[in-house]
């Protein structure tokens, strides 16, 4: 696991918290979800309303995750850390490294994220849980993005997400849904820069739906709408995932992803594998 991609300072905090025994276990297993590809608490590709980790109002928690997506001509490695402060505020930091296999090119991006829970509780309130979040992105390797027509190498996504877990809803099985509306100019998450000559509609919809097969296994689907600012035929993303939560300190997610066309190379399907650790 490319654990060394996490900046040493954050890694240090992580260990300090661990030894300080700040571990929080206040939520039902699996309900906080995992880390999405940009570092926020969520599914694999969609940020959810719930905050990463098991903290409740009275506690804080820290988590880290690394994931790899391998599709036909590309691969994306990302590692992220999250802090959940009193289940009110989530702070996250992610590093992405994107490999364009046919061109032997590597693109890198860092993302700082924050999310605030506005109201509601995923499990215990009748209302859904609703949160507001941002992802501030900085592309380190901007040449390719600019040559493809991107306007900028930094950008900020703002999203509002609503999630609800319905206990016993499907024949006694728990059902989770999430809907996220995101204001963004990112091209392929920002790895191909931000904005472009064809930018039009800027609010994108993202949805996830999952069923808990038992306490430890979640099976779900996700869909993430994307805009085609660069006129390269950027497609919406979708995946079908299975996530395993053996305990409150570990989860492993495997997904089959369909990323459509990336940089005008189409049929990018493949696999996503992610591991997350929770303190």
């Amino acid at each position: 696991m490319p654990m060394n991609k996490i900046p040493p300072l954050l890694y240090g905090c992580f260990l300090a918290l661990y030894s300080a025994n700040c571990s929080a276990e206040g939520k039902i297993l699996a309900t906080p979800g995992v880390s999405q590809i940009e570092g926020s608490g969520g599914g694999g590709i969609v940020p959810w309303a719930q905050l990463a980790g098991y903290a409740t109002e009275e506690s804080i928690s820290v988590s880290a995750a690394c994931s790899r997506v391998t599709v036909k001509d590309f691969s994306l490695d990302s590692c992220a850390v999250q802090a959940n402060l009193y289940d009110k505020i989530e702070l996250s930091y992610a590093k992405q490294s994107f490999e364009v296999t046919p061109l032997k090119l590597n693109l890198k991006q860092n993302i700082i994220g924050a999310k605030i829970n506005l109201f509601g509780d995923l499990v215990y309130s009748t209302m859904p849980q609703v949160s507001l979040g941002i992802q501030s992105k900085r592309l380190k390797t901007s040449d390719v993005a600019f040559s493809l027509g991107a306007k900028k190498d930094t950008g900020t996504d703002v999203y509002i997400a609503a999630s609800k877990l319905h206990l016993g809803f499907i024949n006694g099985y728990n059902w989770l849904w999430n809907v996220t509306a995101r204001h963004t100019k990112s091209n392929q998450l920002g790895l191909l820069g931000f904005g472009g000559a064809h930018e039009k509609k800027k609010i994108q919809l993202e949805v996830s739906s999952a069923i808990l097969l038992n306490r430890h296994l979640a099976l779900g689907v996700e869909f993430r709408q994307k805009s085609d600012n660069l006129n390269l035929g950027e497609d919406h993303w979708k995946d079908i995932f299975i996530a395993w939560f053996p305990n409150k300190h570990l989860s492993v997610t495997l997904a089959y992803v369909d990323l459509g066309s990336i940089a005008a190379i189409d049929k990018q399907t493949g696999w996503y594998l992610s591991t997350m650790w929770y303190l």
């Binding site: 929080a24 276990e25 206040g26 939520k27 039902i28 409740t56 109002e57 009275e58 506690s59 509780d121 499990v123 215990y124 309130s125 009748t126 319905h166 206990l167 016993g168 809803f169 499907i170 024949n171 006694g172 099985y173 728990n174 059902w175 949805v207 739906s209 069923i211 038992n214 306490r215 689907v221 996700e222 869909f223 919406h236 979708k238 079908i240």
Partner: protein, 157 residues
């Protein structure tokens, strides 16, 4: 896009056409339980009636006795009374043949200042107790679905 919509729809259809988990029946709790038994068993019947409920609560009381997060709240409690009252309450909640006539959740837990962490932990102890009593996962979820909305009437009182 099309495929994911179909999957989403499939998941929700699954919910409506469920053969044995008619969720509405638990909401309409005051239909006479005998006449209802012919068409659709109540949650109480599905979980295994009184023996199962007694079994869960026995385990729960044992587990609470060994737990350092919530035990402090119960240190002064009258265990027999708690056991009896909780049994009637849960039987009633699961549409069993019982009428809970005790105090409201607000009144009982008033002054205990139970926080979210403690409440959620209590729910997990309850899950542990249901596991120990061999209650199936879907039935556990249906019971939890009845308990979860009570949180706002129990915490921070």
């Amino acid at each position: 896009m099309k495929k994911s919509i179909i999957l989403l729809l499939l998941m929700s259809c699954f919910a409506c056409s469920s053969p044995s988990g008619n969720i509405e029946s638990h909401v309409e709790s005051h239909i006479d339980s005998n006449s209802q038994a012919q068409t659709e068993p109540t949650l109480y019947q599905k979980m295994g009636e009184k023996p199962a409920l007694d079994n869960i609560i026995d385990h729960l009381i044992n587990i609470i006795g060994q737990d350092d997060v919530v035990f402090a709240h119960f240190a002064q409690s009258n265990v027999t009374r708690f056991q009896d009252q909780l049994t009637v309450f849960l039987c009633h909640l699961a549409d069993g043949p019982c009428q809970y006539k005790g105090d409201s959740m607000e009144d009982i837990h008033q002054g205990m200042y139970i926080n979210k962490n403690e409440f959620n932990h209590f729910v997990e102890l309850f899950i542990e107790a249901m596991d120990a009593a061999d209650i199936s996962y879907p039935i556990q979820n249906l019971l939890l679905a009845q308990l979860a909305p009570l949180r706002k009437t129990i915490i921070n009182m």
